[in-house]
Amino acid sequence: MTTVTLTINGAEIVAEAGLTILEVARRSDIIIPTLCHVQGKPTGNPCQMCMVEIEGQEDLILSCVSPAQEGMVITSDSDRIAAHRLERLAILAETHFGDCKAPCNLTCPGQINVQGYIAHVAKGQYEEALRLVMERNPLPFSVGRVCPRFCETRCRRILVDEPVSINHLKRFVADWCMSHEIDLEIPKDAPTGKRIAVIGGGPAGLTAAHFLTRKGHDVTIFESSPMLGGALRYGFLEYRIPRDVLNYEINTILRLGVSVKLSQKWGKDFTLQSLKDQGYDAIFIATGTGVDIPLEIPGAVNPHTYSAMKYLRRMAEGKAPDMGKRAAVIGGNNIAMEVARTLIRQGVAEVTVIYPRSRVEMPAHQRNIREADKEGAQFLLMASPVTIADSVEQGSRLKLELIRMKLGEPDAKGVRQPEPMPGSSNILQVDSIVSSLGQRAVSDTFSGGELEKTIALSPNKTIDANVRSSQININGVFAGGDAVSGPRSVIQAVVSARRAADNIHAYVMGVPKEEGESRFNFTRGKGFDDVDLKNFDGINVKLREKMPTRPPEICSQDFDEVKLGFSEKMALHEAERCLSCGCTAYDRCDLKELAINHNLNINKTGMGTTPVYARDYSHPAIIVDKNKCIFCGRCERACEYDALELGADSFDDKGRPVGLILGFNDKCVSCGKCVDSCSTGALNKKAQTIPLHTEPVTEVRSTCPYCGAGCQIILRVKGKTIIEVTADPEQAPNYGALCVKGRFGHEFIQHKERLTKPLIRKNGMLVETSWDEALDYTAKKLFDLKAMYGPDSIAGFSCARATNEENFLMQKFMRTSIGTNNIDHCARL
């Protein structure tokens, strides 16, 4: 072999002669980016990403076609090259049109791969859907019931009819897995030996425990109550989150291997110092906001006036206080709505919510207000409590004096604050009052130990933790959830705790925190107004499935769950409504990856804004979206059948195609190699509907199970599901070539008709049985036949589809255990 010696980026390389610079670089693990390169098939329209500098030559040259020559001094990483690449990328990005991630995904505070789990539902892969949710949210049962559903507000389907019922689908998969007793078998990293204390077993504490345990840490939750759950148990009553569901959810987390200490009061049973002394490597405070802001009006301290948290907790503990027949709820937040609905269920005949502004200004979610309204809560708006006194009237305990409010002049920020209307006194006769004026982490300062006293607090009496690091002002102590943010939704607590878990992991392991996902995103339009309605041509109206709900007049009589959950059929139907906005080539898109690596700011340089071409679904296995095509030509050149027609009516001044032609001719054998070669998401497999973001995907190399050609395949596995099958262009004997069966024909693996249990014939019918019975019975029958008729009365058919090892064992079994050469297989068939 003749060789050449050259230098790339300062490294001297001895390479085989006759290779291109790009090939030499690749073989030396030097990455020179390219968007258009197909081994052995140069293009006349190069992407120019692979251009390099050669000492002594003024112009940049294409490394993909230039032969590596003796003594060359090559640079592939200079500023000049980077600038050139950036310029080229900007040109390509300018006409690339599509969504990298779907708006639901981007809007979700948890950054959950919403489109992915909906696609799993549509395929009937409920277990995998839940596993995907659990990658980022370990509380799918609760969140699936109480989430404010930020995602649904941005669902593009709104521009067609109604948003997809995303949250109900999440709840469906969680409930389905519970009722089918699915063990998700969530993987855990090897033990790190690090111990972490989590104070508080509510949503944030449980979330942190989940993710830290998955990272291999030894986590102990310290919970002050006798049961875990925090706000999930004591803030939402059974009609929102049934106890058996909540217990199941918590147990799913604990089964990972989390230690729990119940009825442990912080400051009394333990302190930060005592935890440190016990050798915990980090402490996470997730105590939530269990302290109500007090109602500070005359007469507020009386036996019939409760704060919201205290009232709800007593109800949750089954120690219902006597609230009489009429109750007032002071406050308009979400917790106030829970209080009102709980009072109604408790049997209070008249429940009046009092709020100083109008209904639309109430901080509670409108959905929650509507539910309370439907169940019979009354709303006294534009009113504020003044005093509470013992009632003198027959049949009521308290006299609540109110003052009517009106909106004042706009303040500096333009907000019209309510002002009392002088002299407008109202009297409300009630038996009990519950105030819900907001919650904080602590009433004054933390206590119980020296360290506790020093915890820095915000003016709102929440813990002051660094937004990026989750650390508080004490080394090794982190905080998250409502205790830091004040009362927020469950999903927000989950996110806060997940971030904290990442930070704690980095802290205890002494490693840098994993980089967050890039925010780089092509979008078909940020706001609804930016989205071209042509995007939805051909999409028919299909309204969302209605959540089966018990009628308010009935459900308000008891504490049973109000919303009953989707049936499987409804879930499938609803999942099919998803428009699949996000790109299913997300994980393999070279354009996106290079744009991120080169810090391309497409918000400045521009991206496509309108769909120029309709998506083409005419191929049986492949979807073509020409709006994403960057005309790299890899599909055409990778195709070994000359089956792709790629061209353009003309080219614009920057060399981009106008009137793009991309289609298949009748030579196409649907082998799908073009899709695996596509540099963006212009070509997609119809069956690959799951966008893969940061979820771990395992690539398992194997051999195709069809004909005897022995093609090498790569099974891409996410969770426990094969997502797609590809091939390695470098691997003998097929060098990336597969037929339609090899690339697409693997749905049988996870088909519902697979046999899952041994069957035995009883009374003429095949019925399920245990392995023991099936094997014992078989062995006995074979013994009997041998004894009665001799071993040659038994014959075995082996399997040309099974492995060598198994064929070997089958013939060994027949020859040894049975004692016959009556063994054969279908070689001839």
Binding site: A621, A687, S702, T703, Y706, G708, A709, G710, V717, K720, I722, Q731, A732, P733, A737, V740, K741, F744, G745, H746, E747, F748, I749, H751, L755, L759, I760, L766, T778, K781, F783, L785, D792, S793, I794, A795, G796, F797, S798, C799, A800, R801, A802, T803, N804, E805, E806, N807, L809, M810, Q811, F813, R815, N822, D824, H825, C826, A827, R828, L829
Partner: protein
């Protein structure tokens, strides 16, 4: 295959006989087309106008089942014209005289009478393949093997290749294309009634002694029954119990009614499969098995390459890997197979089989090895028979032409041949579960020649009834000049059109392969 897929591109001449690799082995078909494009000459012998026939430099369209006569005719011409490889024949073969004697009567005239191939074409084909000094590869498939004279066909191909000295060189060879992913391996492993693993014959007492020592058990040394013979043995009362591992004879066997009748008579039927196949529905016991993606192991492909199969996902429910089922059942039968991983089984295979002796899982971690691999430092054997034949000298075994068992007659005037469609595989139990594949190929069509269609009053897409002496199927017709005059071709992937109810269980006398490719049928239009 004596040779490798990778050296197809090196062939000067490629002869394809009885194979439509475009549908049966698409990635190999692709390489043959690429070689053609790259300058190789393509010689196609097939009654059916395949995609290869369309591209061929020379296409011979013989009468179905006349291959031995045609191949003998080619030998005859080559001898007559003196263009055989005399050195090769002299140095590396024996029994040449017998070849001369047997093929003497296969004059072009005589051959034309049997095959319908004119002398000029026969001579052109013989010259093209013989091309002295050129590398010529033969590829054949089930179109050659699925005949009552299948082994005769194969031997005749081997005779031709040896005569012309086309073996032991990259770009040459005799290359059977194996139909199933591991049919090569299943044969290698001795899942055969007439050999032990590694093709050690049942008459080899030394091998038996060795196996008995290693396996610590007395082994039966009498011959077993071939799968295709089992049905008669059941009906005659000799066989009472069957263990069917991953096969569906109810659909797959020729004259399937015969197989069903036999299965019904059985005392005990065990089926081990991934789906409840038609055969499994008749079983007394069904063991649920893991599929290829749910277990570790190896497959051996048609080019003798031993490659890894790796577990990617868990089997569904309580399904188990087949090897585990064998171990558990064997244990209950009193013979322990205490394997804990397929690699342990493989290591036993390599200990017993000289062809696999040098292979380890570690060595095939990235790229598979082509057997024989006699030692752990042996690089594998991409081309067999370089310099010398494995068995010493190559033996010419000339055979005479025997007509197919069932030829058309007045009552059944047409011939049936069974074919594959590219998207589907075998009986569709796997492929038909992928919607894209069903979209590409949702139903079978009876491919019928235009002239036959006109004569029978059949229009394109008419529903027709096709019957043989053994059964009847209905399906739609597709008028196509791919089918030879007098022949209807039907794909066999579709359980709703069980074409093996028509086929003939006439077996090759040695290999016991059935004659899937020819039986006499009649076809009539079904009036709506």
């Amino acid at each position: 295959m004596t040779n490798s897929i990778a050296d197809i591109i090196e062939a000067d001449v490629i002869m394809v006989i009885g194979s439509n690799a475009d549908t049966s082995h698409p990635t190999i078909g692709l390489r043959i087309h690429q070689a053609k494009k790259n300058g190789s000459k393509l010689l196609v012998i097939d009654p059916r106008r395949t995609g290869f026939a369309d591209e061929a430099d020379l296409w011979l369209r013989p009468n179905p089942g006349s291959d031995v006569a045609l191949l003998n005719g080619m030998v005859h011409v080559i001898l007559e014209e003196g263009i055989w490889d005399k050195t090769f024949v002299e140095e590396r073969t024996e029994n040449f005289e017998e070849l001369e004697i047997v093929t003497a009567k296969y004059t072009p005239d005589y051959v034309e009478k049997i095959t319908g191939i004119a002398e000029a074409q026969l001579r052109a084909a013989a010259r093209l393949y013989a091309s002295p000094g050129k590398k010529c590869a033969i590829f054949y498939g089930m179109g050659l093997a699925h005949h009552a004279t299948g082994t005769d066909n194969v031997k005749s191909v081997a005779n031709l290749a040896m005569l012309c000295g086309k073996l032991g060189v990259a770009g040459g060879g005799v290359n059977p294309l194996r139909g199933q992913n591991n049919v090569q391996g299943a044969c290698d492993m001795g899942a055969l009634f007439n050999t032990l693993p590694g093709y050690a014959g049942l008459n080899n007492d030394d091998v038996f002694d060795r196996y008995e020592k290693i396996w610590e058990v007395k082994l039966p040394r009498r011959k077993g029954k071939a799968a295709t013979e089992v049905w008669d043995a059941i009906l005659e009362g000799d066989i009472k119990g069957i263990y069917v591992f991953g096969e569906d004879p109810v659909l797959a066997d020729p004259n399937a009614h015969h197989a069903v009748a036999a299965l019904e008579k059985l005392d005990f039927l065990i089926v081990q499969d991934i789906f409840l196949t038609d055969t499994a529905k008749m079983a007394d016991i069904v063991f649920p098995a893991a599929c290829y993606a749910e277990k570790d192991g190896t497959f051996t492909c048609t080019e003798r390459r031993v490659q890894r199969v790796r577990k990617a996902v868990e089997p569904p429910g309580e399904a188990k890997a087949d090897w585990q089922i064998f171990c558990e059942l064997s244990h209950r039968m009193g013979y322990d197979m205490p394997y804990t991983h397929p690699e342990e089984i493989f290591n036993e295979v390599t200990q017993l089989m000289p062809q696999y002796a040098g292979i380890t899982y570690e060595r095939i971690e990235k790229v598979g090895l082509q057997w024989p691999v006699p030692t752990q430092d042996h690089p594998g054997t991409p081309v067999l028979h370089i310099g010398r034949f494995t068995q010493g000298k190559g033996l010419f075994i000339p055979e005479d032409y025997t007509p197919p068992t069932e030829m058309p007659d007045a009552e059944y005037p047409l011939m049936l041949t069974t074919i594959r469609e590219i998207p589907q595989y075998n009986f569709g139990s796997m492929t038909r579960k992928t919607p894209e594949i069903e979209a590409l190929c949702p139903e079978p069509f009876a491919e019928i020649n235009h002239e036959d269609a006109v004569r029978l009053g059949i229009d394109d897409l008419d529903t027709i009834e096709v019957s043989s002496r053994r059964g009847t199927v209905q399906l739609r017709a597709k008028i196509s000049d791919r089918s030879q005059l007098g022949t209807i071709a039907i794909p066999y992937h579709f359980a709703e059109v069980p074409v093996n109810n028509l086929t003939l269980n006439s077996l090759d006398r040695l290999s016991r392969s059935p004659q899937y490719k020819i039986c006499a049928i009649k076809a009539t239009k079904v009036e709506a």
